[in-house]
């Protein structure tokens, strides 16, 4: 305690000397007629509200213009792949929830699909429908969250609360089906854990009806807003070539004008049975990514409605999984999650545990795009760019 004033005094002295030095320098350059400038290095994050978790961006600025921005990840690393090698297969499912915690069902789906490719099991039709509907509802929930937080990044607080209201209803439905609001542990190898509750179809249908009406309100409140358009149009542009070269997927790829969707081009589950469009935009900027996601909500509504209409009557929801599982060979399962292409490479060695599990997370790949997006834009646009990629750090660091 006694030393504190002393320290403060030294500090003040140091600051004072450096201040006077700077002033001297300014005087000098003013006298000689040249103005010297210096690049400014700013460390954004890992604790920063606009980075959606523990993302650290190392950025250099020339005045207010970004010269370079590099992502530094790993602050949330939880050794998911190592843990998966040491656990029984069914014990891995809850861990997959926690990679991308905003769309847990799609992650579970990817892992379960990889396992089902290696063992011989038939998934009952009703279970497939439940998986399908839940995955699409999850996409709606995830995009609603993007809608809210992206607006929040740009300073529009009202929208956030509206998005939360819709998402809350969806989470209630999830909770009634699975018992949990975000981390479900619901899918099983060969099916799902339990059937949906009575009146599930009705609850979902009424939610979809309301959502459809409210989507129009959302477009009215945000999409046409001039401030929003100025902040997003032409900001963080990714060309189609760059998107492919840098491995972008999902809405980020489609907003750059590449019409590729794993659900259409390499169909899994029931996606080849039902009709839906793949929304594409060609601008490749933040606005395009926003519009693609909003259009995807509408497509998901369509898909869920079609699936609800011919959902088979109650039957068992889990197939005959062999008592002794032997994983042989390797399998690669990939799906289109709300954030992009999630893939799981599973290698077995004849035992009942994974010999190696590799997880492809779209956000991890997308963060490489930050470098080319950020170059030459303003500080505030950097925040918009990060927001438009819809990063979930749990998935990046695994």
């Amino acid at each position: 305690m006694r030393r504190r004033p002393l320290v403060l005094a030294t500090l003040a002295q140091e600051v004072g000397t450096s201040m006077s030095k700077t002033l001297d320098r300014i005087d000098q350059s003013a006298a000689t007629g040249e103005v010297r400038t210096e690049d400014l290095f700013i460390n954004m994050g890992p604790q920063h509200p606009s980075t959606h978790g523990v993302l650290r961006v190392l950025a250099t600025f020339d005045g207010e213009v970004v010269k370079s921005a590099k992502a530094d990840v790993g602050y949330l690393h939880r050794c998911f792949e190592k843990i998966a090698e040491k656990r029984q297969l069914f014990q891995v499912i809850p861990y997959t929830d926690r990679t991308d915690y905003l769309s847990a069902i799609t992650n579970e789906l990817c892992f379960v699909m990889a396992v089902e490719k290696l063992i011989d099991v038939e998934v009952p039709l009703r279970a497939q429908y439940i998986r399908f509907i839940m995955a699409e509802l999850q996409r709606i929930a995830s995009h609603l969250l993007f809608f809210g937080t992206f607006a929040l990044d740009l300073g529009a607080v009202t929208v956030f609360l509206y998005a939360w209201r819709e998402r809350e209803r969806l989470l209630d439905i999830f909770e009634r089906v699975t018992g949990a609001r975000m981390l479900y542990n619901y899918l099983r190898i060969g099916g799902v854990r339990n059937d949906v509750f009575d009146g599930f179809e009705k609850a979902v249908a009424s939610f979809l009806d309301d959502l459809e009406k409210r989507l129009r309100d959302y477009h009215n409140i945000l999409t046409g807003n001039r401030i929003f358009e100025t902040r997003t149009k032409g900001v963080g542009v990714i060309s189609a070539e760059d998107a492919i070269r840098y491995g972008a997927s999902g809405p980020v790829l489609r907003a750059s004008g590449v019409k590729y969707d794993v659900r259409k081009n390499d169909p899994y589950l029931l996606y080849d049975r039902y009709e839906f469009d793949v929304p594409v935009r060609t601008e490749g900027d933040c606005y395009a990514r926003y519009m693609v996601r909003m259009a995807e909500i509408e497509e998901s509504i369509k898909l869920v409605r079609q699936a609800l209409a011919d959902m088979p009557a109650a039957e068992r929801v889990i197939g005959d999984v062999p008592r002794r599982i032997k994983l042989e060979g390797d399998a690669y399962a990939r799906i289109d999650s709300p954030r992009g292409e999630v893939a799981c490479y599973l290698v077995g060695d004849g035992s009942d545990q994974a010999y190696r599990l590799k997880w492809r997370s779209p956000c991890f790949v997308h963060l490489q795009l930050l470098e080319i997006m950020a170059k030459g834009q303003l500080v505030a646009d950097l925040v918009a760019s990060i927001g438009s990629l819809d990063i979930v750090m749990g998935e990046v660091d695994r």
Binding site: V73, G74, I244, D266, A343, K358
Partner: protein, 200 residues
């Protein structure tokens, strides 16, 4: 397929894959797309033996020394413009296996390249960042967690673990020799707290 090859040496695998080549497709007929991929690879590299897998992927084993050449040709001549993922697998005594999942996006072709690296001490594979820039983070991750060195990578640093971490945690022979953390119970907590207070 790849799984029974675990007990074989890479040379054996090449021989086995080579024999399978004489009876293409096996029982299941190849889809035209897969046939196109197989033919394309054979036309450019007659010594490679691409194999069709039952799950729609074409699989090919490539020597580490030839990887750069093959990768460039795959991208420019055969249209594999999209690298989905790079995974490194620890095959214990047979060293490592680096697996590249490639897509020709709009043509809908799928290809797996597997590179076997027998050297356990210093496994090295040429980097493909120059061919597919997305490989940057994937290769850094493989280096970080599995210790496979990618020659020619612009910035091969650890990415998920701390910079001062020792060892590569996903290797099968990795031992975490840090002492286990002591569990904090009510007693140990108060004990430490009391000692702290006495010190002051």
């Amino acid at each position: 397929m790849a799984d029974d090859s675990k007990t074989e040496s890479p040379a054996d695998v090449d021989r086995r894959v080579g024999t399978n080549q004489d009876a293409p497709a096996g029982a299941t007929p190849l889809s035209p797309l897969m046939q196109e991929v197989v033919d394309g690879i054979k036309a450019h590299f007659p010594e490679l033996a691409p194999q069709a897998r039952s799950d729609g992927w074409v699989e090919v084993f490539v020597d580490a020394a030839k990887l750069s050449e093959v990768a460039l040709c795959l991208r420019d001549r055969l249209g594999f413009d999209y690298l989905s993922m790079i995974s490194a697998v620890d095959r214990k005594d047979e060293g490592f296996e680096v697996v590249y999942h490639l897509l020709a996006l709009l043509a809908n072709k799928k290809l797996v390249i597997k590179v076997r690296v027998p050297d356990r001490e210093n496994p090295t594979v040429p980097s493909v960042v120059g061919v597919w820039p997305t490989a940057n983070f994937h290769e850094r991750e493989a280096w970080d967690l599995m210790g496979v060195r990618f020659e020619g990578h612009p910035d091969l640093r650890r990415i998920l673990m701390r910079e001062d971490w020792v060892g590569h945690p996903l290797r099968k022979d990795y031992v975490d020799d840090r002492p286990p953390r002591e569990r904090v119970t009510r007693e140990t907590y108060y004990e430490a707290h009391r000692a702290d207070r006495r010190g002051k």
